[in-house]
Amino acid sequence: MKRIYLDHAATTYMDDCVKAAMEPFWHKNFGNASTIYKEGIDARNAMTASRKIIASIIGANPDEIIFTNGGTESDNLAIFGVARLHKKGHIITTKIEHHAVLNPCEVLEKEGFDVTFLKVDKNGIADLKELKNSLRKDTILVSIMYANNEIGAIQPIKEIAKIIRDFKKKEKSANPLFHTDAIQAAGYLNLNIAKLGVDLMSLNASKIYGPKGVGCLYIKRGVKLLPVIYGGAQERGLRPGTENIAGIVGFAKALEMSQNQAVKESKRLIILRDYLIKGILKKVPHSALNGHPTFRLPNNVNVTIPGVEGESSVLYLDAAGIACSTGSACTSQSLEPSHVITALGKSKEDAHCSVRFTLGRKTSKKDIDYLLKVFPEIIKKLRIVSAI
């Protein structure tokens, strides 16, 4: 059976050009970038070139890019890195962050840090008034994601940066720092750090048609933080360990390609996304969209289908050849419903019944038409089974 992959927010297939760019670094140019002979220098050159590419895409200096093993590590480095340096203080984040941000914040809370989890409105946009009121003299870090992974909500990063800047000016303080997790945004939105006004930004390759296991943290010059793992001098000591050269080369290529086609691809996907949203709302009785109708990532559709638990929908769709995901964490071994959907003010029941479709480069209108054909039938069947 032909498979239709609609879970691009989970991960993406690797682009052929990315794969080709990585190819020499598995066994031809395999050197350790920390060594001083030719093989090492070749590896280091490849890494330096990749760092420059990524830096120039986001408008940073190459020394502001720290390579990591992915998005989760980048988020952890940003949060623990700042917290470990200050040893105490106040952190602001939102209720709808990825667990790579939420869990570190919760750990720090247990360790004695104060954490404010900002509310979001019914569309998933952070409450900026609450942000203003939450800023304190001892606030060391604000971490707010650029675009949400479950509902695609895009946060007003520039406005948030301005609020923080104004506060710092008024308080004549160097703190708080502003971190954003831009991992889901990287395929579609502008990543220019000067425009965004962030001090720290997490990026990752595996959601933008690059390899898994590589990402980076942008750290603005002058911003100090401590490493979370120790062992060597690589990445200015902030991320020790032999560099993943093939991954880094692939990451740079993937980011370059994604950003080059971001505008065009966004336009294409927005049409498909809205077609899918309209189709589901029309063909599946009582279905509802989660998140804002337009102020969302071009590839994200998240719907609640009352009476049908998300996992059941996902597995029936899987049997029909469609790969998608649930906002509900049922399949991810925790039985708690999605913290993102409940943060929108929806009931736990609604959160249990959410399904996410995330489109991507290979998604065609034909794929969406097939989904719109089988999904209503599946829901009809599962509603017969349902006890509510």
């Binding site: 059941s312 071994q333 419903p337 017969i384 089974v385 006890a387």
Partner: protein
């Protein structure tokens, strides 16, 4: 060594999830069943309803129908339970009451630890239904 899986849960779970047995399709007619029961809550992501018909003479379960809101393992657990107690002539009520969540789980070929509660819920739904049956027909209740 465990074999490589082709599906997230066992083959039996898959079979029951896609082809549920004894599902109540139409709302019951008055008198069609002797009792009904319900457990779970939509907020927790699981609701199971059962309908029971008992042969008064033999005390065997004539019919056990169900509906289930929940994940694949919740649906499969209820379906499996209904098959265990209501098929092949039906189990005696007191024997069915002796079944445990572990029995359901074993018949399903096992559940991951975080899904064990699905088999517990199926068991609880049945106990809730039988309780309702004994309330309606106190003469059928075991002497205490």
């Amino acid at each position: 060594m465990k074999q490589q899986r082709e599906w997230i849960y066992t083959k039996t779970v898959k079979e029951h999830f896609f082809h549920p047995r004894n599902l109540l399709l139409d709302d019951p007619e008055p008198g069609e069943f002797d009792a009904e029961g319900i457990v779970g809550s939509p907020a927790c992501g699981d609701v199971m309803k059962m309908w029971l018909k008992v042969d008064r003479k033999t005390r065997r379960i004539k019919n056990l129908k169900w509906r289930s809101f929940g994940c694949a393992t919740a649906i499969a657990s209820t379906s499996m339970f209904s098959q265990m107690v209501a098929e092949k002539g039906g189990m005696k009520l007191e024997d069915a009451l002796k079944l445990t969540p572990r029995d359901i789980m074993e018949c399903l070929g096992g559940l991951p630890p975080y899904k064990i509660h699905c088999s517990v819920l199926a068991d609880q739904a049945f106990h809730n239904t039988v309780e309702n049956y004994f309330q309606k027909f106190p003469e059928e209740a075991p002497h205490k």
